[in-house]
């Protein structure tokens, strides 16, 4: 079946604009994660969903970041009033709920804030 799909692939935003990044997980994967990856760094955890419930949002860097997964499938990461430091690749991953399940990652959305 299809893998994790993220859109858009690239996004350029002017500072102060709001952006919305979309993630379509693998069908049947109840767990969904968002990560932020700066150039040359490892992915940084942002938030985690199990079905529609957001179980952990401790990694969201500020209240400008908001994630939702209203029907337990597609998820959207929204960044309000973007700043230059928000420029990064945003990765989405999904997995089965089992403890030993690996994460399946999308190709990410590269956000550039000018």
């Amino acid at each position: 079946g299809a893998g994790v799909s993220q859109s858009p692939r690239y996004k350029v935003a002017k500072r102060g604009q709001d952006v919305a990044l979309r993630c379509d997980p693998i069908s049947g994967h109840v767990s969904l994660f968002w990560y932020q990856q700066a150039l040359g760094q490892g992915p940084e955890f942002l938030t985690y969903f199990q079905n529609e419930a957001q179980l952990d949002k401790s990694g969201l860097p500020s209240d400008r970041f908001f994630a939702e997964r209203p029907e337990g499938s597609v998820s959207t990461l929204k960044i309000q009033r973007t700043q230059q430091e928000d420029s990064a690749v945003y990765l989405c991953a999904s997995s089965l709920p089992l403890r030993d399940s690996p994460l399946h990652f999308g190709n990410g959305t590269r956000l550039t804030v000018t």
């Binding site: 992915p43 991953a93 403890r99 994460l103």
Partner: protein, 111 residues
């Protein structure tokens, strides 16, 4: 969740040589996973080793785990240019499926 620390940060070898990357972590784990990230294919899961396992193989990959030393190693044998990537170890505790990534080892395999 907890984070693994990879060593070395960067590694450069010739094609055909073996590459060894190490990982250390701080608390008890349920399992440890290795992921690879290259520019073409994004982040890909390579292998998972459970806390009661000491060694696991998958193709040219060999992973070891020493829970008494809280360390793991990833060996890639007969490396190829296509193995050029960053490699991340991700220890997972009993808190669930929370995966935290460190900085990774950047491997370069020269043809």
């Amino acid at each position: 969740s907890q984070q693994g620390e990879e060593d070395p940060q960067a590694l450069s070898i010739q094609e055909g040589e073996n590459a060894t990357m190490n990982c250390s972590y701080k608390t008890s784990i349920n399992n440890l996973q290795w992921y690879r990230q290259n520019s073409g294919r994004g982040l890909v899961h390579l292998i998972l080793i459970r806390s009661n396992e000491r060694e696991k193989h998958s193709g040219r990959l060999r992973v070891t785990l020493d829970t008494s030393k809280k360390s793991s190693s990833l060996l890639i044998t007969a490396s190829r240019a296509a193995d050029t990537a960053s490699y991340f170890c991700v220890p997972t505790g009993n808190a669930g499926n929370m995966l935290t990534f460190g900085g990774g080892t950047r491997l370069m395999v020269k043809p």
